[in-house]
Every structure is written in structure tokens, then in C-alpha cells.
Symmetry: C2
Subunit: 194 residues, 2 copies
DNA sequence: CATCTAATTAGTTAAACATCTAATTAGATG
DNA sequence: CATCTAATTAGATGTTTAACTAATTAGATG
């Protein structure tokens, strides 16, 4: 995540009124007037704050008749909130040989994957491991959720140790787990390779 | 975590210069002039920013001769960064019968713990469970780290299902795990009971 | 198409804030 | 105790921002 996006996120979260809006939306969607009422503020003030929250992507809206409902995207919120705990990692990666060409990528996949698509072994070098993890995770459909069993079964079609692969997908933010179901993260949360 | 502390945290993190300072300190401690040099700013500016970072508790300092080194407290940083993803939970607790007197606490402990200190069963009601978890976790020394084996052994002196207890301690932020070692969190991170 | 509702934009005001220079303080050392 | 180094405080300046009122816009509906 780049610096100015992180700044925008924390600036957005760094205001009592906006934090209270986030707290309200965690309970479920609300429309502007309702928020204004609950907080004892005027509608334009709410618009002002919602604009900042929406700019970060953690809030989105849907219209129903005349009323616009605002929703909290808890996944995005969590991702952005945790980004500061990893700050600098991306730069380190960018410096330290983390650039990768398509040619290199092909080479890595060729080295670790057999002709019939099986993973020979999990690469121990981080960069290579991420390339391999990204390759296999693309089989999942964005937005769809999967049971742990399904995930395990899919992994076993190409690698025996399914627990390791599943754990690494979570660890590197390719997927996340909620209520014991698994779902692909948006690509912008994936580690920066290629 | 209360609202104004969260506001202060995100205000502190909502500035590019301060985020760059956090990124620098993640690599290890630095003194003021070094930070000023790396960021191309004047020392008073760094003092100004460090004051804000220190006020939140995520940065602390140690003196060595004439030079003051600034350290990042990554545990505190992580805790505060993640607090926004749980915002409102505490209020719900505070409303919903979450006040507890010392008398009630004694009663709960008496009900669930035998005379020789064993846990009869894990309470299913959240409030009671937290009371019990807090009681047993106090055996650990603040600041000391423990191997998973040690933790398990201790739990087994009072309850068979050590995995559950260990997991709940982590889940409720009584302890945290790092490099496969366990350590007590500061009490301010514990759930608000008593 | 006139009218209603909810949201947004425009413009104002007071407060907060990031940065700088200059002056001061806190400790260490000869 | 004079002097050095590093950090902090004080004060100034320009920018950002949270809140409001008043005016406008975007859609829905009779």
C-alpha cells in the first residue's frame, strides 16, 4: 500500500465523528439523515465526512428510491488498518531484488511445476514462493466464497501438503477467512510481484 | 480502547512524515538527528512529530550518553491499528450487562473453579469466560516470554483442553504470540471487566 | 411536469497543524 | 566550571479542516 493512501486512510480515521460513523455502519447500512440524527449533526456535515470515508474505499453506497444507504467494507477497513504494521516491507521488497520480469516468472513456474501441473515442492525463497502461490490461487473466482474442504481439495490436486499452501495464501493476503469460509482478496492486496 | 485514544492514534498516523518515521523505526532505533537527516527535515520538526508519536505510546525513548534513541513499540502499534476494526464492540459490552462487581467476580470464580484450583468447565457465557480467563492468566509474568509447551503445561494443571484456553487468551488479547513464543499483553489491552 | 425528499455544493468561520528559525535546556566531558 | 552535543521550547506563518447556513442538484412520484 502506498504512503499517500495510508495517510488518507489514517486522516479519515483520525476524527471522532468519522469513527462514530464507522462504529454505526459496523452494525449495518444507514442513510445520511439517519446518521445525522444519531450523531446530532447536520446533513451537510455528514456528507463532508462520508466523502472522506468513501475516498478511502472503506465506505460505499447504494441507492434505494430516494435514499442512499452507506455501507462499511470491513475487509478493506481491516486491510488498510493493518497496513501500518507492515510499513516499509514493500519498499524493502522493491529494493531487494523484488522486481520480476515475465520471463523470470515463466522460469520460476517451469522450475517448480511439473508438466501435468503439480507443484514439485514449495520454494523456500520468498519471491519464488509468492510467484507460485499467485499462480495457483488464480483458480478461485473473485467474490465467491469457498468452504475449507473445497479449498483443501483443490490444493490436493497439485500438492500434498494442503495446510501449508492454505496458510501461505492467508499469510500473504491472497485470501482471507471469515466464518470458516475462504475468499479471494482483491488483487491490490496481493504482494507486489510482476 | 476509548474513542479519543483512537482518534489520537489515527491523527498521529495520518501524516506522511510520521509514517516515514514509523517505517524507519521498524528497522531499529534511531536518534533524532539521524531521523532528521534521513528525512531532510530540521530537528525541531522531528521533535514535534516524535512528541505526537510518543503521546500515543507507540514510540518510546532511551538515553545513551548525549543521544536519545527512539524505539517503536510494535505490539502497541499493532493493537492500536487493529482497534478500529473492532470499534463499537466495547460499547456493546458496556451496555449489555458488562459491568461487574467484585462480589460477582468472586461468585463466578467460585462457581467454575474447584477448591483445589481446577477449572470445572469453560463458561459458555462470554462475560464469565473472560473473568475465568483473566484469573488464570495472571500466573504469567509480564514481560517474560514462554514457549508453547510451557503454556500448555501450565494450562493442564487446571484444565484438560489446553488448546481452547490458549486460543481464548490470544483471541481476547490477554496474550499474543510472536516467533512461536507467548507473552502477556499489557492489562490495558485486556477486555474491560471489573 | 410540478412537487417532494434526500444529498450535495458553495461559502464562511474558527480551530488545528506542519514547518521553519532562533533561543533555551539537559547532560556529558575535558 | 566551561564547553560541547543533541533535544526541546517559543514563536511565526501558511495550510488544512470541521462545522454551520443557504442554495442547488438528483431522482422519485403523483
Amino acid at each position: 500500500m502506498q504512503l499517500d493512501k495510508m495517510v488518507a486512510f489514517h486522516k479519515a480515521a483520525g476524527d471522532p465523528t468519522r469513527l462514530r460513523i464507522i462504529a454505526l455502519l459496523r452494525q449495518g447500512p444507514l442513510h445520511g439523515q439517519a446518521i445525522a440524527g444519531k450523531l446530532g449533526l447536520r446533513p451537510p456535515t455528514i456528507t463532508h465526512h462520508l466523502k472522506k470515508l468513501r475516498d478511502t474505499g472503506m465506505v460505499y453506497s447504494r441507492r434505494d428510491k430516494n435514499t442512499i444507504y452507506f455501507y462499511l467494507d470491513e475487509k478493506k477497513l481491516t486491510f488498510m488498518a493493518e497496513a501500518v504494521t507492515r510499513i516499509g516491507d514493500e519498499q524493502v521488497k522493491a529494493d531487494k531484488e523484488w522486481q520480476i520480469t515475465e520471463k523470470e516468472e515463466r522460469q520460476i513456474l517451469q522450475n517448480f511445476i511439473t508438466v501435468d501441473g503439480k507443484l514439485k515442492q514449495m520454494p523456500s525463497q520468498l519471491k519464488k514462493r509468492v510467484v507460485v502461490l499467485a499462480y495457483y490461487v488464480k483458480a478461485f473466482q473473485p467474490g465467491k466464497t469457498y468452504e475449507e474442504k473445497e479449498v483443501n481439495e483443490y490444493i490436493r490436486t497439485f500438492f500434498e501438503d494442503y495446510a501449508t499452501v492454505r496458510r501461505e495464501w492467508i499469510m500473504h493476503h491472497f485470501m482471507y477467512r471469515e466464518n470458516n469460509r475462504y475468499e479471494l482478496n482483491p488483487q491490490e492486496m496481493w504482494p507486489v510481484v510482476v
